[in-house]
Symmetry: C2
Subunit: 219 residues, 2 copies
């Protein structure tokens, strides 16, 4: 059977971006089907009835959902290419821990920062800065979170690089002043074609965030 790979996709989604990067890293040809999130396709509702969210990877007709689960699936199926996860179980657990941390923190807190106001916005700003501190400390002087090579943690986090400008502008701080190592790391990741062709432009994300704020009636 041929490998038919379809991605139910949305350009600015950091979760879809992770999957696009993983597919590019493994050199997998795929068809991107971009969803209209305000009018989801019957295919999306059928392929991900539980969460009804993108991204969904459809491999030979069978759906796989949730971005980091998709990334692991891609890594396991296309195993002839270098692995995105370390082979040592302890380092694998470490990589999963940080990907999980990013998943639990950056999107929900980041969204509260840019899509709310007042107290919630202020507390989210503090919380997000704290997360970035923890992540900058974890990165330390390494080239990538996965040490010498781009891996699972980098893939989980780089998809939020597109949101750095939105965060710093709406939160009123400077990423390069506060978190120079994270910014350098982001620029380093962007030198990889798999990343640069998968990520949205920071200013475009900011414009989209402003649009959503307006629709939500915030400021």
């Amino acid at each position: 059977m041929a490998n038919e790979v379809v991605l139910l996709d949305f350009e600015m989604s950091p979760f879809a971006a992770r999957v696009r990067i993983a597919l590019e890293e493994k050199g997998i040809e795929y068809k991107s089907e971009v969803e209209d999130l305000s009018n989801k396709s019957s295919n999306l509702l059928k392929m991900n009835p539980v969460h009804q969210q993108i991204p969904v990877l459809i491999h030979n007709g069978r759906p796989i959902c949730e971005s980091m689960i998709i990334v692991q699936y891609i890594d396991e199926v296309w195993s002839h290419k270098p692995s995105l996860l370390p082979s040592d179980p302890y380092r694998r657990a470490h990589a999963r821990f940080w990907a999980d941390y990013i998943d639990k923190k950056i999107y929900p807190i980041g969204r509260n920062l840019w899509a709310s106001k007042g107290e919630l916005k202020e507390s989210s700003k503090k919380e997000l800065i704290q997360c970035f501190k923890i992540l900058e400390e974890e990165l330390g002087d390494k080239l990538y979170f996965g040490d010498e090579s781009f891996g699972n943690i980098d893939m989980a986090f780089i998809s939020f690089y597109s949101f750095f400008y939105t965060f710093e502008t709406l939160g009123n701080w400077s990423m390069v002043a506060e978190f120079p190592k994270l910014v350098e790391w982001g620029e380093r990741c962007l030198q990889k074609e798999s990343v640069s062709k998968s990520l949205s432009d920071q200013k475009e994300v900011y414009e989209a965030a402003l649009q959503i704020k307006q629709e939500l009636g915030i400021e």
Copy 2:
């Protein structure tokens, strides 16, 4: 080097229970160090500085955090025993999807049901019932979520079996009437020694929940 395995533990934690079950399933000897969660040990703060939560598995001095990540670590290190995850990548992704669903839904929604009142309690009740419906449908007529044998999804969910009585009593519904397959599945899992010796008694969990409600000043 000998395998020195220590679990920073708490009896009633459903997350710690998962790890105890995985350790028992693999026949691993370990030392349980029970934490006082109102006065966490310096060892816990050192071993899990990011989340400062149990469970933490300390294997030969190195910490692994987050229950389902620990379960995967155990599965990968003690690989001579039957695997807790299927070998086929698609079935692995499926198992990870449902474990993730349980992680995202049952604890936070369940806690809102028993540790809140008014509108939040009512909406959480509806949401939790909806989750159980989805899980009962996923179980269907299978013996276990992992089909013929007890696996990763069962491990993720069975730890909440101890909370069924708390949920149905404080939510005012009957688990056996509404979700007979889930109750049967729970009883089936309990026939396994790894499960029965790792789970807390349903009535004891209920008493503890009442105590916490009182401390929180709810009803």
